[in-house]
């Protein structure tokens, strides 16, 4: 059991800054997920913690212990690699026992722990097989098994689900969450898939270009993204953005998007008032745009006219790709909506959930 602390950690590969001044505190028993687009430094952050890369700057602590110069094997961590990295010439049993043998664990104890871990993961019947003789999902379990037999203080996962098919991924996601509860150990998990992050994490750290953008619970990241990048990255389909100006008219504060004008709700007025007359980026999620008359009760609607470009029927909902002015955006609307491509559509923005960002700094205003 241990907390993990990154303190002003940087990593450079020649001219490339893979991780830039990362500071983050991971509490004991937390399930922290690093998420971000390809090349943003997630894997590097994890490998720094594992001791597989050397720090360029900063400190990393596991528990209270400074581990900058501690060898990977002495950090009391275990890692599941993206490729699983099973030893191809060893049986599943030996794969799992290898680390314990090297630590001179008594034979009976090794046997007990391997069987126990295999039991947790449901792979008891595979212990004699070689990795080649396993399916992708089974290999993934063995890789997890090899990590949990060692009872480490921290588990590291680098995109462990990316080689599984969609269905198995969903199932394994739930199993990993369960495993986390059962083991009560700190999990640090890397993925580029925001759905994985949202479903499993107790907290998510969003990274971009080596920089930590925001770290918070999934709900807060979704409700109150700290900047334009986080707003666009969390949520699927992504949030719609419009260049807009804040204007005042008849005592109302409005967001003027050129082809539409929507009213700012009272509770957000205070923070937006100082930006009156200034350009902002107005953000609204596809799920906060409804097609009339199928608007849920109790929301603060603002009407917007748009032209339907394309529709995608998803069964339980319809994705409408719409145009206002010449700006395209997405709405997730009620399946009863009959709008067809080329037609006008009446939409209602749920202004309670509007977002606005500073155009220059891209930092959230509300």
């Amino acid at each position: 059991m241990a907390s993990v602390t990154y303190e002003h950690v940087s990593k450079r590969f020649g001219d490339v800054v893979a991780v830039n001044d990362l500071s983050i505190q991971v509490a004991d028993k937390e399930f922290l997920v690093f998420v971000g687009p390809s090349g943003c430094g997630k894997t590097t952050s994890l490998r720094l913690l594992a001791g597989l890369e050397e720090l360029s700057e900063g400190n990393i602590y596991i528990g209270d212990r400074l581990v900058n110069d501690v060898a990977p094997k002495d950090r009391d961590i275990a890692m599941v690699f993206q490729s699983y990295a099973l030893y191809p010439h060893m049986s599943v049993y030996d794969n799992m026992a290898f680390g314990l043998k090297l630590r001179k664990t008594p034979k009976a104890e090794i046997d007990r722990r391997v069987k126990e871990s295999a039991g947790i993961l449901g792979i008891e019947s595979l212990l004699d097989r070689k990795p080649k003789q396993l399916s992708g999902g089974q290999r993934q379990r063995v890789a997890v098994g090899r990590a949990i037999v060692r009872h480490p203080a921290v588990f590291l996962f680098d995109e462990p689900l990316s080689n599984l098919d969609a269905k198995l991924r969903v199932q394994t996601r739930a199993e990993l969450s369960k495993l986390h509860k059962r083991l009560g150990t700190t999990f640090i998990y890397v993925t580029h898939d925001q759905v994985e992050a949202m479903t499993m994490a107790t907290r998510i750290a969003v990274m971009n270009n080596g920089l930590l953008q925001q770290v918070d619970t999934p709900q807060i990241l979704y409700d109150k993204p700290g900047n334009l990048f986080v707003a666009g990255f969390i949520g699927s389909p992504s949030m719609n953005f419009f260049d807009a100006t804040i204007v005042e008219s008849d005592g109302k504060l409005l967001v003027d998007g050129g082809s539409f004008r929507v009213e700012v709700p009272d509770k957000k007025k205070g923070t937006l008032l100082p930006h009156k007359g200034k350009e902002v980026v107005f953000g609204i999620r596809p799920e906060d745009i409804h097609a009339k008359p199928y608007v849920p009760p109790g929301i603060l609607e603002a009407d917007v006219q748009a032209k339907v470009d394309v529709t995608e029927l998803m069964g339980n909902e319809i994705f409408v790709y719409a145009l206002t002015g010449n700006k395209s955006f997405i709405a997730r609307v009620d399946p009863r909506c009959r709008a067809r491509a080329g037609e006008q559509i009446e939409l209602a923005f749920n202004m309670d959930n509007m977002h606005a960002f500073d155009q220059k700094t891209e930092i959230a205003i509300v």
Partner: protein
């Protein structure tokens, strides 16, 4: 509806398949001739001399002159016993075996360690070392024969097994190190890192993880090197030309000297000398083919 469906279900595949298959057959036949024709020709080219050698080794000397091309009228198996006894073939055979096993083991051990270091560790001058080995492949052994001779004599290793062993090792190293380096590079780095996190020392990672994983490549390399040393003539002649050190190729040549005109015995010797190569090849053929193919695909 159901009868119609079943009719289509039954007919469609046949109708669709029938037309292209005939065309494909013809093309296929042309293709086969084009591919197998040259292959058969090359096989004959390779096999005929071997058969001729085997036949000749079983003839009497007079028949060898009067019936040089066909199979023997009388089979003279005693040519083999004569060669084995008379020309100390047993000794040459043993010498060759010693040279092959010691040199190839040495090459594999040293070459794999060096190749692994070049493939996986960052150190100053690593690329220069690798280029040095690669450029070593360009220089043929004959070119450096005289300086080599001087060095070996200076070291007092002339006409010793150790001398020849070191020469084989040095001569093979550029190729062996280069190939090993490639094999190790092709193994996923994550496997090695997993072992490191499992607590394995660098040496253990090498011997218990990396070396076994590189085994297919190492195996075929060992076979190629064994065949080369088994047949190697020049170095063996120059550096180990004492009767008790002679390897098979040298031994066979000295047989000609000894029994000047005894060609059947000479060919009997050659046939025996060839045997281990063929056995080795038969055992490992499938394996080597596979490793060259996968090597080619991975680049």
């Amino acid at each position: 509806m159901s009868s119609e469906a079943s009719r289509y279900a039954g007919l469609a595949p046949v109708a669709v398949a029938a037309v292209p298959r005939r065309r494909w057959n013809l093309w296929h036949r042309v293709n086969r001739v084009a591919v197998y024709g040259p292959l058969i020709f090359l096989t004959v080219l390779a096999v005929v001399p071997v058969i001729w050698m085997l036949f000749s080794s079983l003839k009497s000397l007079s028949e060898f002159y009067t019936n040089p091309w066909l199979w023997p009228r009388a089979w003279h198996w005693e040519n083999y016993t004569r060669v084995w006894m008379g020309a100390s073939f047993g000794l040459y055979f043993t010498n060759s075996m010693i040279m092959v096993t010691s040199s190839v083991s040495g090459m594999i051990i040293i070459g794999s360690l060096a190749g692994y270091a070049l493939a996986r560790y960052q150190f100053v001058g690593r690329d220069s070392v690798l280029y040095y080995f690669i450029s070593g492949q360009i220089i043929p052994g004959q070119v450096v024969l005289i300086p080599l001779f001087i060095i070996v004599r200076f070291l007092g290793l002339l006409n010793t097994r150790q001398g020849l062993f070191l020469i084989y090792l040095a001569a093979a190293m550029p190729f062996v190190v280069f190939m090993m380096q490639g094999y190790f590079k092709s193994i996923s780095r994550e496997i090695e890192e997993a072992a490191r996190m499992d607590g394995a020392s660098e040496l253990r990672i090498f011997w218990q993880i990396m070396f076994p994983l590189a085994r297919p490549g190492i195996g075929s390399l060992a076979v190629f090197q064994s065949l080369w040393i088994w047949n190697e003539f020049l170095f063996a002649l120059v550096f180990a030309n004492k009767p008790h050190l002679r390897t098979l190729p040298i031994g066979i040549v000295s047989t000609i000297g000894q029994y000047f005109t005894d060609y059947p015995a000479y060919f009997a010797g050659l046939s025996v000398a060839m045997l281990p190569s063929i056995i080795l090849y038969l055992i490992t053929a499938k394996y080597m083919l596979r490793s060259t193919i996968t090597g080619a695909v991975k680049g």
